[in-house]
Amino acid sequence: MHEARSEVEFDALVVGGGIAGCEAALNIANNGYTVLLVEKDLSIGGKMILLSKVFPTLDCGACITTPKVSEIARHTRITILTGSEVGSISESDNHRFKAGIVKHPRYVVDEDCTGCQLCEEACPVNVSDQYQFHLVGRKAAYIPFSIASPRIAAIDMENCTLCGACEKVCPTKCIDFTQEEEHWTVSVKTVVIATGFELFDPLGMPRYGFGLYKNVITSMQMERQLAPTRPFHTVLRPGDGKMPDRIAYVLCTGSRDTSVGNPICSQICCMYSIKQAQLLMGALPMADVTIYYIDIRAFGKGFNEFYEQALGMGVNFVKGKIGKIIEKDNGNLLLRYEDVSTGKLHEAEHDLVVLSVGVLPNKSMQSVFQDLSLLEDTYHFIKQDDPILNPARTSIEGVFVAGTATGPMDIPDSILSAGTASAEAISHIIQSQ
C-alpha cells in the first residue's frame, strides 16, 4: 500500500542536502520562508561532512559542517526528508511548482530511534560500508556514520536476512519491517537544485589497475583514512595493512581527459591532493609523498601559498602524467611516466597509490522536469542562464541552481553560489506573491 500524503505547501523546495543545499535552505528559512529539503542519502551534509580537513585553511571538515547541519536540523521552518528522491516536478497554477517526492522506507520509525546502536551490535550481517568508501564493513542494521544527521538507524533491506535480532534488542521498539515507500506531493513557489557532483569511477581507466591492485585507492578513500572519524586510526594500505612509506598521487584521474569523456579540469583535485599530502606528512612523518601532475592549478586565495607550503614540507612534485601502473608481487606498484622536465621515461616504485579522481556531473535531474525543459551544458552540468551575469538561474523561471550542480567548484565557491541561488529564490518568492 502506498501512503499518499495530501498536498503540502512550502515556499521553497531544495533538492540536495550537501553543503550548497544546506546553505541555500538555511538562507531561505532565515528570511521567514518555509523550505522542504530533500536528500537522497540517509544523512545530510553531502560529501563535505565526510572530509578530513579542508583547503587551504586546514579546518576540520566535520567540525565546520556539523554546526551548520544541526542548525538546519533544528530549524522550525525547514523540513528535511532524507532517503528521499524528487521523482517529478511540473508547473501548476499561480506560478507554483508541483513536486512528487518518494521517501524510501528506512524500516525505523524516525521519531522513536535514539541512535543507541544496540541494533548494530545485534545485527549478524556484515557488508561493505559505503560511507567509508568500502575500506571497512558495517552491519545491515546501521547508523550511516557517527556524525550523521539525523543520527538514526536504518535497515539495509538489500542485505537484511530478516532474522529479527535488531527488533529484539531495540529499547524503543522503533524497528518496523512493514514500512513502505511514502509518496509526497508538495506545492512550492521556487526550486533550488543543489544535486552536487559524482566522483569519477577509476574502473573506467583499467591501465591504473583500480579494483585489481589492492594498493591503488581513490582520493576519497584516503580522505576517510585521514578524517577524525577514520576507520583504522592510522593510514594503512588495504592490500596487507602495512603503513605505507612511499605514497604517490596521480592527478587528473578522469579529468582533463577526452579519452574517458571528461575534457574539463575538476578544479579541486590539485588542492585536495596537496592538502592530503600535508596531512600525510603529519600522520606518517617518515613517508615520502610524490604528486604526479600535468599542471598544478592553485588559483584561489591562499592556494599558491598552500602549494608552496607543501613544497617546503618536502612533498615531491613531478611533472608528468602517469601512463600506466604495474603491480609487483609484494603489492608495491610501478608507476610509468615521462618526467616532462627532463624528457626521460621513468618507472617509480610506490607502496600506495592514490588516484585523485575528478568531478563528474550528477545526472539525476535529467528526467525530473516533465513539461518543463531544464537545459544542460556541454558537459551535462546544469546550464546556467548566464555563467557570469546570472549564475544561479536555469532555463526554467523560478528554478535556481547552487553549488557543483553547475560545474566543478570548491567549498567556498559552492557556499557563495548557494548564497546567490537563495537570494534569487527569495526574490522570486516575493515577486510571485
Partner: protein, 355 residues
Amino acid sequence: MAFINSELTEELKKFGIFDFSACYNCGNCTAVCSLTSEDESFPRNMLRYSMLGLKDEITVSLKPWLCYYCGDCSTYCPQKAYPGELMMTLRRWLTSKYDWTGLSGLLYKSVAWNVFAFLLVAAGVIAYAVCQNFSLEAIMHAGHVFEMLAIAGVFTLILLPNIIRMWYVTTIRAGIHAPSKVYLRQLSELFVHMFTQKRTLSCDDHKLRWFEHLILVIGYLSLLFITVFLNWFETGSVLINLFGYSVSAVVFIVTFHFVLERIRKTKEISMFSRSSDWFFVIWLFLMGFSAFLVRLFIDLNLLEQNLWLYLVHLIILAQWALLIVPFGKWTHFLYRSFAMYFQRIIEDHSNLSKK
C-alpha cells in the same frame, strides 16, 4: 638556442594529420608506449620538435622508425592529439628527406602527381606492348627482364644512395663515429629486424598484426624470388608452381584484410589513411592477385586469348617497381630495419665509449 620554425608544422601537415594545438605536454603518450625506454623515449619529444620546427633534431633522429604504431599513445591521449599519427607523418617526411631525387616528397604530398605518375607508367607499358604488336611471348619475356633490371636499378640508383644518406644524417652527422667492428657485430640485428619485425611483438596490441605482417613480408619476398629467379610463369615444376600459388595467395589475402581494416577504421593504425597508404596496400593486393590469375590462366591455357590480363599485371608490376618501391611506402621495409641496425650501433658505440 633553438629557433622556432613555424614553416615545419605547415610542411608536416602535407604529410599527415596532426593537431599541433591540442597537445598539452603531459607525457602520457611516452608513458603508455610499450617500446619507449629510459634512453630512447618518444613520442612526446618528437611532438615538441615538430611543434617548434626543430628540423635538424628530427632529421638526425631514428625515433620515428623505432615506433611500430600500436596506437596506444593515440587511444589514451587525453587531448586527442593523435601522437601515433604524428610519428607516421614524421616517417613519411623523413622518407622524403632521405630520398635524393626529391620524388618521394612530391608523391607523398600530392595525389595529382601520384595519378599522373601512375598513368605515365601505364602508358609506357601499353606503348611497349603496341611496339611488340601485342605478342604475348615477347611481352612476357620483356616483363621478366624488366623485373630483374628494375630490382637492380632501383636498388643501386635509389635505395642504396638513400640508405647511405640516412646513415650519414643519423650517425655521422649526429657525431657517432663507430669502428667497423661495431658495424659487423651488429649486422645480425639488421637481418633479424628486416625479416621478423620482432620489435612489433613488444607492442601491447594484438599479436595477429605481427603475424599477418610477418607472413606478408615472407610471402612478398618469396613471390619476388620465384617470379624473378625461378621464373614462375614459365616453370614446368609442379613444386615451384604450387609454391607460387600459395605465396601469391598469402599476399593478396593479407593485404585484402589490411584494405578492409583501413576502410573500417576500427583501430588507431588504420584510422588515418593517406594516398601513400592506399597505394601501398592496394597495389600489393593487386600484384598478388594478378600474379595468381596470370599463372592460373597459363595453367588453364587461357592466357593466349586473354593477353589483357598479363598487360594489367605488367602495368601493376611496373607501377609498383618504379613508383611505390623507390618513392612510396615500400621503403619503410628498409628504413625500419636499418634504423634498428643504426640504433644498435649507436648504443654499442656509446657503451664502448663509456668503458
